[in-house]
């Protein structure tokens, strides 16, 4: 068993026991791809009454390498509006990039960070250049060199 498999097995048994409010496991059929739903816990009007679907992809190097985490669009699962979330679901968050990642992070802590990233936002807008990025981007999220221009959002 690889490092990633063992670590994810640990996480999964913990997740199956309990998750913080507003986070739910949708599926974890293997140790490569998991889906979770998150919602915000306050009544931020931008996200009220909405549930958002996250897709986690793990490499064999997890948790030395960060997982790839994106929002997925479904009929009842929109992509949350946020200045750091592109309309194709790609998230610009330092802790998910090579620069900000730490191997003590885990699926649960990432979900909580995303919850608070939404909760703390009051801008009803997409990142600058969203349309162009969504049209032109062929890179995997981890290969995109985001420019973290604004650490306050």
């Amino acid at each position: 068993m690889s490092f990633a498999t063992k670590r994810l097995g640990k996480e999964l048994s913990k997740i199956n026991n309990s998750l913080p409010p507003g986070i739910e496991l949708v599926s974890a059929d293997n140790f490569e791809e998991w889906f979770l739903d998150i919602r915000v816990l306050d009544n931020n009007p931008l996200y009220a009454n909405q549930v958002y679907r996250l897709k986690f992809k793990f490499s064999a190097q997890y948790p030395i390498e960060p997982p790839e985490v994106v929002f997925v669009k479904l009929a009842n699962r929109p992509i949350p509006i946020h200045p750091h979330i592109y309309s194709n679901g790609i998230i610009c968050l330092d802790l998910l990039g090579q620069q900000g990642w730490s191997p003590v992070q885990n699926v649960e802590s990432i979900c909580m960070s995303l919850q608070s990233m939404l909760t703390g936002n009051n801008k009803d807008e997409r990142p600058a250049g969203d349309e162009e990025f969504v049209r032109g981007n062929r890179l995997r999220p981890k290969d995109i060199d985001f420019y973290y221009h604004d650490n306050n959002v």
Binding site: F3, R7, I64, Q98, S102, P103, V104, N106
Partner: protein, 106 residues
Amino acid sequence: MKVKIKTWNAVATWRWDIPDDDVCGICQVHFDGTCPACKYPGDDCKLLSGKCGHNFHEHCILEWIKQESAKNQCPMCRQTFEWANPPHDTSLDMTQGLEGFTDNQG
């Protein structure tokens, strides 16, 4: 009454000299277990303590530190990771189980 001990087996347990319920933040395995790469806990799969006070399996933290993106930082607190010397010793605990200690009279 005289007691003659014919045979006895000593059983020793050990654990790392750190708080009981700690897990390695990287692999999330209890410190008394091994890192995911190892089979046997103990000297073959040591712990490494940072001066910042955070402990990891040696194999786990070295796997991290060799990444360029780790920037030599502790995964917990992001201070420069320098190991504290010397690494934790095992502490013998002889209090448990002297099974096989027989009190055969003879």
